[in-house]
């Protein structure tokens, strides 16, 4: 479990990083927190010829809230920083609640939000949060800067809209209404393991107390994090309550596309996914009422 030889570069600017990847070509990889890539290298599953380490680029780190109350998180911000940040607890409590479910503290100390999104493990928490919040993923690359909506970012297992030589620079979460109801829950074999299935949920109410907007997303239930739009549609225009939540959960389950592995069957994931949707909606509602 030792990697083959590779070159290593530690640029201090995005420009330099982009120049290095252009120079070293197809077999070079960017290194973020290294919590997925490095084990894969040790198993020789990934064998990059060069690592371009983004950890020294200060511009890629940081948390801020703009004038319109949007939350900006630099791609190289550690998961643990998100977990410990008091303003995120207000600016996006769903994100804040999901983060402690990511692996173990030692891993969160190194892992980054950008790294997790770029890796795009379908059981990972951050991709689902980005997806359910409708965040925008800011990308910089040889063609300049562009922004990709989370709905268009995740393309398949470990596949994203990132193209050769591109880096995620920042994730921008839309403004979080103070009254929004939300919940996150996942089931894993042990604390810190990848979720067998997990659900992120939120909804907003209009003045009459009916649900005006909603978001449901699942992890561990498909090739990518999934938006469960069938469940979201059931919620819209209805008053929150156990019956509505049960119907929404049943509909949401039809959007799951789970596969079987050694930890759980597809049947389990579908069934428990539905249970978690219902529970998350109920928890969200109880918390806000």
């Amino acid at each position: 479990m030792k990697p083959p030889k590779f070159d290593y570069f530690a640029p201090d600017s995005v420009e330099r990083a982009l120049a290095l990847i252009a120079e070293h070509g197809d077999h070079a990889r960017f290194l973020a927190g290294g919590q997925s890539l490095v084990p894969m290298m040790n198993f020789r599953v990934a064998t990059p010829s060069a690592l371009i380490d983004l950890n020294g680029i200060a511009d890629l780190r940081g948390i801020r809230i703009d004038d319109e109350h949007r939350l900006h998180i630099g791609a190289m911000t550690r998961t643990r920083e998100i977990e410990m940040d008091a303003q995120i607890a207000r600016a996006n409590p769903l994100l804040h609640a999901a983060v402690p479910n990511i692996a173990h503290m030692q891993i969160r100390n190194r892992g980054t939000i950008g790294g997790s999104l770029a890796h795009a493990d379908p059981a990972a928490e951050l991709p689902a949060i980005v997806l359910v919040c409708g965040a925008a993923i800011q990308i910089v690359g040889p063609g300049g800067r562009r922004s990709v909506g989370a709905m268009d970012f995740f393309e398949g297992i470990f596949e994203t809209a990132l193209r050769d030589g591109e880096i995620i620079s920042e994730i921008v979460f839309p403004t979080w209404p103070a009254a929004r109801s939300w919940a996150f829950d996942e089931i894993s074999r042990r604390e810190g393991d990848f979720a067998m299935v997990g659900i992120a949920a939120w909804f907003d109410l209009d003045a009459s107390g009916k649900i005006s907007a909603s978001g449901l997303a699942a992890i561990g239930a498909g090739d990518t994090p999934l938006r469960l739009s069938s469940g979201e549609q059931i919620l819209i225009g209805r008053s929150p309550g156990a019956d509505v939540f049960a119907r929404a959960a049943e509909a949401a389950a039809t959007d799951l596309q789970p596969a079987s592995d050694i930890h759980a069957s597809a049947e389990y994931r579908r069934e428990v996914g539905e249970v978690l949707v219902q529970r998350c909606l109920q928890t969200a509602w109880e918390r806000s009422s």
Partner: protein, 769 residues
């Protein structure tokens, strides 16, 4: 000097802990020798394949690579890895050679070796080894093995390693006449010891001296030395096995494995020290697996639940070869199936089947964990069928003190004298029920609190300990008053140094801080028995006691010489000899050591060997688990766990507690998490800690472990019984029963391990829940 209290029975802090906790331990990877090379092993990627050719040229051509070899390059034919335990007839056809020659039989089997200056270069070379494999059908289940369409070892003509029938009484007749019978199939999951420190070895092989020194040895060093000496054509005294600190054994570490031969061969070839450290991926395929049995169990009883007979077939999945532990797992599963209960008639067919998986060996509580699960689950089913409370059913069947000692019969071929010694099983069981509040719980089974269903499961066990050869100890007193204990027993991290020092300090009446314990290495003592079967406190402990007693006598004799008086007028007390008529006149052991030295350079030292002559003491007790199950998700939480274990006498109660808790947690892993999963091609799907799940601190319940000291062993004067395995042996049994009680409204049965959310939900779905 006065000694504050006796050390035996006191929870003194472990003497080794300061060293280990401050990073001053010396594990095998900490050993660095001049000019040392490292070695890496090319392991079979196939479960079953013919080897048509091996090309090492490209690997050898990598800059830095020192050497590479495969079976064809080894001049002398290596002997097979020997059988140490349970060596049943027929097994000799399935022994493993240290390196594959014509065929590979499991994923992970060694095929070639690379020697390089560092592991990176060695792994680069492994990538360039080309082996022409011709894949064959893999045999991955005992049923497939029994069918015999594909033979793992063609020369054997079958996949049945061996089979036999054991029993007592007339089971068939009892079943014919019994008013109640039930039959069930149980399976226990293949899993493994997975110590925190993986295996590792460093060989220094100088054929001219001759000397083979092997660092990283442990467990049964004298047995291993004998076989390694024979394998390499060396006299035994030319082979030294050196024990370092060891980060966990649990039965798996320290057996002879292919690497114990390959590392010396590598050193012999390159004429320099060679190190091999097992990485975790190797560890999960190369180190013995365990527990993998299928048990068809039948029970016959009266209508009021008194057991008349048990009948069973136990099939052990042995993996591809029979290794040193022979048939221990399945044979002990069969032997312990009746457990501590009155089972007048018993008949068991035991089959050892060869498959294309990693070979199996012992893991803490071998066979007992399995047997207890099958029997205790069955007893709960009987209780439910006959509408008897499960605890009451057990009381009706537990053997009473008046029935002990009880000769259990030849339930392992050749083991004709096995006898449960004295004890009071009901008392230990009752202690458990009181502690866990069973009277309150038995009517609350299945209660739902916060959408979780609660269930309390109970299980009884009995467990042998301290079998095997004699153990040795030597005590040496130095002129500065320091005392050194040397023993043939090993330390695998369990506190051997502390325990032996406690005994020595009490019997020599000295300060424990004067005592150092050196263990395991073959250079310390002429012979030794080793560390397994919860032996150390019983065997090495009594050897130390005997050596200390001898040393006291020697001190008196020396003092008599020194004072030119009759030894009858002298007494030993508080680390010194004094005159009975003048207690103020003393000679300390340090002064006596100096005196001994002054007489022809004698050492003040004594040797002893303790042999229990096969008379075993049996630890026994009971477990209770309280589980909460989220019915909708199948998530199981073990909230509370209580166990009692009669161990005769606790040498160090805190260490006994540690053994019980550690064993219990490992047992929770084996019950809920640990599982070596293979696909139909014989590929291991759980090759890393992302997929092979060990229990962690977040999975721990509230634990109460009670060591009972009501029935001291008759077979050693200190009264010790083994205390290393009682914590693990009934965990699957108790948790399995708890889960069934929690889900009693859904009539879910637990016959297979591990119990996972996915499996529970599948059962609940089938039950309409």
């Amino acid at each position: 000097m006065t000694i504050p209290t006796p050390y035996i029975g006191t929870s003194i802090k472990r003497l080794e802990d300061r060293r280990l906790l401050t990073g001053a331990g010396r594990y095998i990877d900490d050993v660095k020798l001049p000019d040392m090379a490292v070695m890496a092993i090319y392991r079979s990627p196939y479960a079953h394949a013919r080897i048509n050719g091996i090309d090492l040229a490209a690997a050898k051509a990598i800059p830095g690579v020192i050497d590479a070899f495969c079976a064809a390059d080894i001049e002398t034919d290596l002997p097979a890895i020997p059988l140490r335990l349970a060596p049943f007839d027929g097994f000799e056809r399935f022994l493993q050679r240290p390196i594959a020659r014509d065929k590979v039989r499991y994923v992970g089997e060694p095929v070639a070796v690379v020697i390089a200056p560092d592991r990176y270069t060695a792994e680069d070379a492994l990538d360039l080894i080309e082996v022409d494999f011709e894949p064959m059908t893999a045999v991955t289940t005992v049923d497939q093995a029994a069918a015999g369409e594909t033979l793992v070892h063609e020369d054997a003509g079958e996949n049945m390693g061996t089979s036999y029938r054991v029993g007592r009484g007339d089971a068939d007749r009892a079943f014919t006449e019994a008013p109640y019978t039930r039959r069930e199939r149980f399976t226990t999951n293949r899993h493994s010891a997975v110590p925190m420190e993986t295996r590792g070895l460093i060989a220094e092989f100088d054929p001219d001296r001759p000397l083979l020194r092997l660092h990283g040895a442990t467990k049964v060093n004298f047995f291993n030395r004998r076989h390694l000496a024979a394998a390499f054509g060396l006299p035994e005294d030319a082979v030294e096995l050196i024990e370092t600190d060891v980060g966990g054994g649990f039965g798996a570490r320290g057996e002879l494995y292919p690497e114990d031969y390959l590392v010396p061969i590598a050193s012999r070839r390159v004429q320099r020290p060679v190190k091999w450290i097992e990485d975790r991926r190797e560890n999960l395929t190369a180190t013995n697996h365990s527990r993998d049995i299928v048990c068809d169990l039948e029970v016959a009883s009266t209508e009021d639940g008194r057991i008349l007979a048990m009948r069973a077939t136990v099939q052990g999945d042995m993996g591809a070869y029979i290794r040193t532990n022979g048939g221990v797992v399945a044979s002990k599963a069969a032997q312990f199936l009746p457990g501590p209960y009155r089972v007048p008639s018993f008949s068991c067919e035991v089959q050892f089947l060869i498959t294309n998986k990693t070979p199996v060996g012992t893991f803490r509580g071998p066979g007992r964990f399995e047997a207890n699960f099958c029997r205790e689950r069955m007893l709960d089913m009987v209780a439910a069928d006959l509408k008897i409370d499960p605890a009451e059913l057990r009381f009706r069947n537990l053997m009473e003190p008046a029935e002990l000692p009880y000769r259990i019969g030849e339930l392992v071929p050749g083991d004709v004298n096995a006898t449960f010694d004295r004890g009071n099983y009901s008392s230990a069981f009752k202690r458990l029920l009181d502690q866990v509040g069973y009277a309150d719980w038995k009517d609350r089974q299945g209660e739902i609190v916060n959408r979780r269903a609660y269930g309390l499961g109970i299980a009884c066990f009995i467990e042998s300990s301290a079998a095997g050869p004699p153990e040795t100890a030597r005590i040496i007193v130095s002129a500065d008053g320091s005392i050194e204990i040397r023993t043939g027993a090993s330390s695998v991290g369990q506190g051997t140094e502390t325990g032996l020092a406690q005994i020595c300090a009490d019997y020599l009446e000295t300060d424990i801080n004067l005592i150092a314990v050196l263990h395991g290495s073959t250079t310390l003592v002429p012979t030794g028995g080793g560390t397994f079967h919860s032996r150390n406190t019983v065997m090495a402990g009594n050897a130390v006691r005997m050596a200390a007693e001898t040393l006291r006598s020697q001190c008196i004799e020396l003092a008599a010489l020194r004072w030119n008086t009759d030894s009858a007028g002298l007494a030993y007390q508080n680390g010194a000899v004094h005159r009975r008529d003048d207690p103020g006149t003393k000679l300390s052991i340090a002064e006596l050591a100096i005196f001994a030295e002054s007489r022809d350079g004698e050492e003040l030292a004594s040797d002893a060997a303790f042999d229990n002559e096969g008379k075993l003491s049996y630890s026994y007790g009971a477990h209770a688990a309280l589980v909460a199950i989220d019915v909708a998700t199948g998530v199981i939480e073990v909230e509370k766990y209580v166990l009692t274990e009669e161990i005769g006498r606790a040498l160090n109660p805190a260490m006994v507690q540690g053994q019980a808790v550690g064993g219990l947690v490992q047992g929770l892993g084996g019950t809920l998490l640990d599982h070596m999963v293979y696909d139909d091609d014989g590929q291991l799907l759980t090759g890393s800690f992302a997929d092979y799940l060990l229990p962690t601190s977040t999975e721990l319940p509230d634990i109460t472990a009670i060591a009972l000291e009501q029935s001291p062993s008759e077979f050693n004067p200190m009264g010790f019984k083994g205390a290393g395995e009682g914590g693990i042996v009934a965990v699957a049994a108790a948790v399995g029963n708890a889960v069934v009680h929690a889900l009693k409204d859904h009539n879910v049965q637990i016959n297979d391990l591990p119990i996972t959310p996915d499996r529970l939900r599948a059962a609940l779905r089938a039950a309409g829940a």
